[in-house]
Amino acid sequence: MAQQWDTPQPLRGKRFAPIVIYGLLGFFALIYLLPLVVMLLTSFKPLPEIYAGNIIALPKEWTIAPWVDAWGTACVGLSCHGIKGYFWNSTKMTVLAVLISTAIGMLNGYVLTKWRFKGANVLFGLILFGCFIPFQIVLIPMAHFLGKMGIASTTAGLVFVHVVYGLCFTTLYFRNYYMAFPDELIKAAMIDGARFFDIFFRVLLPNSLPIIVVTVIWQFTNIWNDFLFGASFSTGESAPMTVALNNVVNTSTGERPYNVHMAAAMIAALPTLLVYIVGGRYFVRGLMAGSVKG
């Protein structure tokens, strides 16, 4: 399905009126862009201008003070050191969880397609269902488990949670990709005496770049954007970026610094937006592969 994505095909002869097509497309494009534009404009305005003007007015006096505030001095709950610490929490957590879950998923996909054994399909089905459970169902046991392990409210604990519940997606992606990888090449390598890991590292891995990019982008976006696990399994200083952002917005001390809120939201959004801009094609492929199998 994803392969057809990039091959536009002219619709034979008949057309809708171009003005209707472009009018509607443009209208929707404006609506989709509006929140981002408003966030950006607000984040560069001084507070009095926000109260005086409207949300889409250009700043008369551009300022980066809200960004500096959001990063370094905004209040997250009771501590007023900005969101930088939480940004690094999220960075550490995301990088580690993405690397580990992708590496394991890769090997799982390899086993499930090239070393199939009896019951492999049932196991895959069991693993797959884990992608779709509402995570509320595991919150209580996981909170107790993390406490028992002594990693409650730590980045290590969150990495663990994200790896465990990310494995089904990474396994799904690599399994579906390796499914289409010719078995003949594997067999040929076996006849040459290559073993399990030789085949993986020398035959499969060099051909896996596209799906690695898809998986890394998917996992990165999901883990960076997670809020439920972050809110449930972290406290205070150990919270990830999304939890901190929500706290910044809901910390009310006097006049609400909306420009700082928007700057903080932009900072929280930038890593995934950047990934989207750089690897949009792969992002879409991941999105589709997450919903359409076979």
Partner: protein, 314 residues
């Protein structure tokens, strides 16, 4: 297409013992590699589901109490005024979210499929919200929907002084703001699914249809859209399950308020589990969420996997 270990590995060699051990290892290796994931799934998915289900039948409050009380917690959840609101909201939000996402997604996909300029740019614009966290989306829309300073004020400044748009602080309308933000974020995904479907449609059939001189809307209605049936199904299943799981967006946009006007099952579960120390009720509500999702996802995944296997065996 089981891949057997090649005979080369099983030939007896002089150092028989260590070789045999090596052979055993080679043969067991695939299963060993998969076993951590299987174990983690059994414990952290299925084991934890069982644990939560068990808790839902106990008297647990701030910590687990191993005293069974039958359906009491379910009874308490079902008769809780917040749960009633949550179910009502889920119905309103779920239906509108799914229908609007599909309608807008299909419309955009059809429009994008008209041999237009700047298709890539437009696609990127419709899809970028999916890269954002719900918390960011919620924060942005909360700001835009702010009655004093947001869209309402903007329209006032255009001269329409009587314009009112205070849904986010209005108990009866607040749930619709969640719909707006939710549709804004997810409709691009449906657009991508439909667009891929449109690009995969049998060209011969279309040629035949356009030679028959049917008008373009008719071709779409009678020929093209019926062929997109599998995509309707997939995107609907995904959207419904996303609607049931919706949590972050409400937290960031309305915090469940005003009052508890935008409560959803997910926020109900969180509230009772953590701040209110009612583990039993939290567990019972989580089990109900899981059962709803499972009722939709299991048949879907089963049919998808069977279809996948059929395709693979051809």
């Amino acid at each position: 297409m089981d891949v057997e270990v090649s005979p080369a590995f099983t030939e007896p060699l002089p150092r028989a013992r260590s070789v045999r051990l090596g052979n055993w290892l080679q043969r067991a290796l695939p299963k060993l590699v998969l076993s951590p994931t299987v174990a983690a799934t059994l414990v952290f998915v299925y084991g934890f589901i069982a644990w939560t289900a068990y808790l839902s039948f106990t008297r647990s409050k701030g910590y687990p109490i191993h005293e069974l009380v039958g359906w009491l917690q379910y009874d308490r959840v079902w008769h809780h005024p917040r749960w009633e609101v949550a179910m009502h909201n889920l119905a309103v939000f779920g239906v509108l979210y799914v229908v609007l996402c599909m309608a807008i997604g299909l419309l955009l996909a059809i429009l994008l499929d008209q041999r237009i300029r700047q298709e890539g740019t437009l696609r990127a614009i419709y899809l970028y919200p999916l890269a954002l966290s719900f918390i960011v989306t919620g924060t942005a829309w909360k700001w835009m929907l702010n009655p004093g300073l947001g869209i309402e004020k903007l329209v006032h400044s255009w001269g329409f002084e009587n314009f009112r748009f205070d849904w986010i602080v209005n108990e009866d309308m607040a749930i619709y703001t969640v719909v707006i933000a939710g549709v804004w974020q997810a409709s691009g995904f449906v657009m991508a699914m439909f667009l891929a479907g449109l690009r995969g449609i049998d060209q011969e059939m279309l040629k035949a249809a356009s030679i028959d001189c049917a008008s373009l809307p008719k071709i779409y209605w009678h020929v093209i859209i019926p062929q997109l049936r599998p995509i309707f199904l997939s995107s609907m299943v995904i959207l419904v399950h996303l609607a049931i799981k919706s949590y972050e967006l409400v937290v960031a946009l309305t915090g469940g308020g005003p009052g508890y006007a935008t409560e959803l099952p997910s926020t109900f579960m969180y509230l009772h589990t953590f701040p209110r120390n009612q583990l039993g009720m939290g567990a019972a509500s989580a089990v109900m969420m899981l059962l709803t999702v499972a009722a939709i996802m299991i048949p879907y995944l089963y049919s998808e996997m069977r279809a996948g296997r059929r395709a693979a065996s051809h």
